[in-house]
Symmetry: C2
């Protein structure tokens, strides 16, 4: 069970865009250079975040990406769902209702296995939904100082 590398990219970019609030749209090439990431792949991830209403994008030569709403209102769950989809990781094909073991029926209750797996995933989602980009920013203010300093040098 693996998430794509885009989750790390997306979360870091959201935090960086949070720090750079007030700098205007941050060009995709700057974000790619920031983390030494392949620009075209990163672009796809940021476009997915824009489609989910997490980032806003500005077109044109001076265009780029910025947060579409305050970092207090972007949870880690929002970012993960935008990049990985909202489907449950556990796949239930209702095999209990197939084959010889199913004879005699009695499947009106939801499967206990699916419920147990769902309960665990909900615990994971709850934890992700309880943490915001603002929490990540507050966790390490020195990062914000360094980010702004480096960005000014990159831009100039």
């Amino acid at each position: 069970m693996n998430m794509g590398e885009g989750v790390e990219w997306g979360l870091h970019c959201c935090v960086t865009l949070g720090w750079l609030d007030g700098e205007g749209p941050v060009p995709i090439r700057s974000l790619a250079a920031w983390y030494d990431l392949p620009q075209e792949y990163l672009k796809k991830r940021l476009q997915a975040l824009a489609r989910a209403g997490i980032l806003a994008s500005a077109p044109g030569a001076r265009g780029g990406f910025m947060l579409a709403r305050p970092p207090e209102r972007i949870t880690l769950m929002d970012v993960v769902t935008a990049l990985e989809g909202g489907a449950e990781a556990f796949r239930c094909d209702e095999i209990r209702q197939r084959g010889l073991g199913a004879e005699g029926g009695g499947f009106d209750r939801p499967c206990g296995i699916a419920r147990a797996m769902r309960r665990a995933e909900l615990a994971w989602r709850r934890e992700l939904a309880a943490q915001t980009i603002a929490d990540l920013m507050a966790d390490n203010p020195a990062n914000g100082t360094r980010t702004r300093k480096n960005y000014v040098r990159l831009r100039d």
Copy 2:
């Protein structure tokens, strides 16, 4: 983020082998027919559970699989780890330390993003570790009755 279909197969087989405790080794062909699953694929999953010490296998014409320890001592986490590996789903490549954004350093603390993602995965793992195959069996005793009845007919 997806688990393989083998997780549903493995969990159902463990519960079924829990119900069939006392029947001796259950042949792989019976388990495959039980859930209408492809025998060779199922075999690979059950062998992974055996390597993890969850199932025991008996060779020969009357051989098959059985639980290697009491169902109270097999957690959902054990089964998921045996089938999906124990690696974290979130992949952290420490991109924060790469590229222009990293200038100025200050990376002695673990990354807040990796810690936040880990916290969420721990909540998921805790929930899986708190539930056993015995809990799943106790959740639906009627299933046990049907399973034993169907198995006797299949065997005879």
